[in-house]
Symmetry: C2
Subunit: 166 residues, 2 copies
């Protein structure tokens, strides 16, 4: 039942990056989540290859989120990260040795349970997990980061004032 | 996500015994489900210790179900057999290194998903899995086995005839 270490760490990295839109270093992630730098490097590279992170090399480099966190569901992340969703032997016809498969209800029942599991995960997006109060940071930072780079950065007073009508 | 081999095999043994109320031998189970006898022996002994199977030693011995299959849910079996339901590191405070735990929503969301998974498994009893058409045998055999041993066994004609009113 346990999720892989890769899935666990991938969730934490993506949640952190969703809440911190600037570049984050591997060192910061390692310190915050108690994961070794070498381990994180492999995960970050893999999430980069999958398009979920953007990585910048060299001095001053780091990682940032490569996708819209409001569109990425926790279920999508777990499906991507868990490479083996064959709950029991008979889910894999190539290696099954049980002779009851054609009529057995166990596989069907486990599949329904797996669907229910993912339906819960699909209710929650990466943005939901990175929301203020979740402890991962402040999502408004992320929204502010989407303002075109030419727009002046808001002052502290502007940040706390109610939005002016358009 | 994968269930342990122990859970997989325990389900098969219990389903077989629910559908075949007479004594079953380790050899029969091994042949039918493609599991080694040594492996099965350990599982059967453990299910016996837990009261789910009754075991009879010696020549003519074997195993039979030790519980009412209409009262044992698949969720109960999986909870009993899966010893590690700590989906990610932070489920285990003794070994957690992540510093975000106090406010993180990930654990809460995964717990809800796990609840949904078990809710589906709890809809199905061992008797449901052993029902005619499941390929595991004929549950009426089981019900017939509950008739006191002094009652005459029904003939083939009686078996196929509609039940007489009491």
């Amino acid at each position: 039942m346990r999720l892989s270490e890769y899935t666990d760490y991938a969730c934490r990295v993506l949640m952190h990056c969703a809440a911190h839109p600037g570049l984050t270093t591997i060192g910061e992630l390692a310190e915050r989540y108690g994961i070794s730098k070498n381990h994180l490097m492999k995960i970050v590279q893999d999430l980069g290859r999958k398009g979920l992170l953007e990585t910048t090399r060299g001095r001053g480099g780091g990682v940032r989120l490569g996708v819209d966190p409001t569109q990425l569901r926790l279920g999508d992340i777990v499906r991507m990260a868990e490479t083996d969703l064959r709950l029991v032997e008979c889910f894999d016809p190539a290696h099954n040795r049980c002779k009851m498969v054609p009529a057995c209800q166990l596989q069907h029942t486990l599949n329904k349970a797996l669907d229910a599991y993912f339906a819960e995960l699909d209710r929650v997006t990466l943005a939901d997990l990175a929301w203020p109060g979740s402890g991962f940071g402040v999502l408004p930072d992320l929204l502010a980061a989407r303002v075109p780079a030419t727009a002046p950065a808001p002052t502290s007073a502007e940040k706390s004032a109610p939005a002016a009508p358009a």
